[in-house]
């Protein structure tokens, strides 16, 4: 692998982490996942009788690692129990930790999040917390042992893109674990911007699964992430106020 994403010592060739929520059916999801090139994809934990099964078989068939999340949890206690159940069911100690405050915003509850992260790290989990774009909280999550931090660009499912690019840059500039832009991506340029700002990866679901053509949007996101990563590594020119001729002025 040329430029792998490394989280907790594990290498991934793709810097696009996908979610599985919102897809009309499993065959649409399958085409989108294949087009995205993803190697890591989230699943939720729900009661056995709930609909939406079959996703684990699909990921297994595609050779994509499942990343269980704690979506729907409101307290640290709920999230810790859900993570432990996921570890048992999926035989992985990786977890995307989500503890949201309310249904309207689905914003992370920072107090419960930090508490849950601490308990799960102590319990041997590789914790990938979905967090607000707060540089102070991001640093705290890293300090307690999270394997990555995953700040939002904007609230889940809004497609509003990255509302505070400066905060994302601040988080990136101080992080020594990978920063994964999680939530808010609406289209490919948002994914590219996240990578240009220095994120190590992008996690998205709705922007693909609810697009008119999920397969094509997945391909767009893949290209966006790759373009943004290349641009970040290439080093952009500084912004200038006045024009600067690119052709020789003499001769």
């Amino acid at each position: 692998m040329d430029d792998p994403l490394v989280i907790a010592g594990r290498e991934f060739g793709s810097r696009l982490v996908m979610g599985t929520g919102g897809a009309a059916n499993l065959s649409v999801l399958e085409r989108a996942l294949v087009a995205s090139g993803t190697e890591l994809t989230t699943v939720a934990m729900r009661r056995l009788d709930a609909s939406g099964g079959g996703v684990l078989d699909l990921l297994g068939r595609l050779g994509i690692s499942a990343l269980p999340n704690t979506a729907g949890c409101r307290t640290a206690a709920e999230a810790v129990l859900t993570a432990r159940l996921a570890r048992e069911a999926l035989e992985t100690n990786w977890v995307k930790l989500e503890v949201v405050a309310d249904d309207q915003t689905l914003l992370p509850d920072p107090v419960e999040l930090l508490d849950a992260a601490e308990k799960l790290v102590d319990d041997g989990f590789v914790v990938l917390p979905y967090t607000s774009d707060d540089p102070v909280l991001a640093l705290r999550l890293e300090q307690i042992g999270c394997a990555a931090v995953m700040p939002l660009g904007s609230p889940i499912g809004t497609g509003l893109g990255i509302r505070n690019p400066h905060n994302i840059e601040l988080i990136v500039s101080r992080a020594s674990v990978p920063v994964v832009l999680d939530a808010g991506v609406g289209t490919a340029s948002d994914a590219a911007l996240a990578m240009e700002l220095g994120c190590s990866a992008v996690l998205l679901a709705t922007a693909v699964t609810r697009a008119q053509d999920p397969e094509r949007m997945a391909a767009a996101m893949r290209a966006g992430v790759e373009a943004g990563r290349l641009a970040r590594l290439a080093g952009r020119i500084p912004k200038r106020f006045w024009a600067h001729a690119s052709s020789p002025a003499v001769g």
């Binding site: 979610g19 599985t20 929520g21 919102g22 897809a23 999801l29 989230t42 699943v43 939720a44 934990m45 729900r46 009661r47 056995l48 009788d49 709930a50 609909s51 939406g52 099964g53 996703v55 684990l56 499942a66 990343l67 269980p68 999340n69 979506a71 129990l81 859900t82 432990r84 159940l85 996921a86 570890r87 048992e88 069911a89 999926l90 995307k96 989500e98 679901a205």
Partner: protein
């Protein structure tokens, strides 16, 4: 005896174990996890862990999400 399984009150045979509750639910052999009264029961202990009277049993699996 009675127990609450995934939110539903159920009448279980006396001496029921986690494994027998899973059989009742027709649970697949992999990809599920069980908590009894808020504590995860490891797979290896399903056959030997009794479900107490009035227990709250949660059986979870992975679904599309996130």
């Amino acid at each position: 005896m009675k127990a609450k399984v995934n939110g539903l009150e159920r009448e279980l045979a006396d001496g029921s174990t986690v494994a027998s509750v899973l059989a009742l639910l027709d649970a697949p052999p992999s990809g599920v996890a069980v908590a009894v009264d808020g504590e995860v029961v490891p797979r290896a202990a399903w056959g030997t862990t009794a479900v107490p009277e009035g227990a709250v049993v949660e059986v979870l699996t992975a679904v599309q999400g996130g």
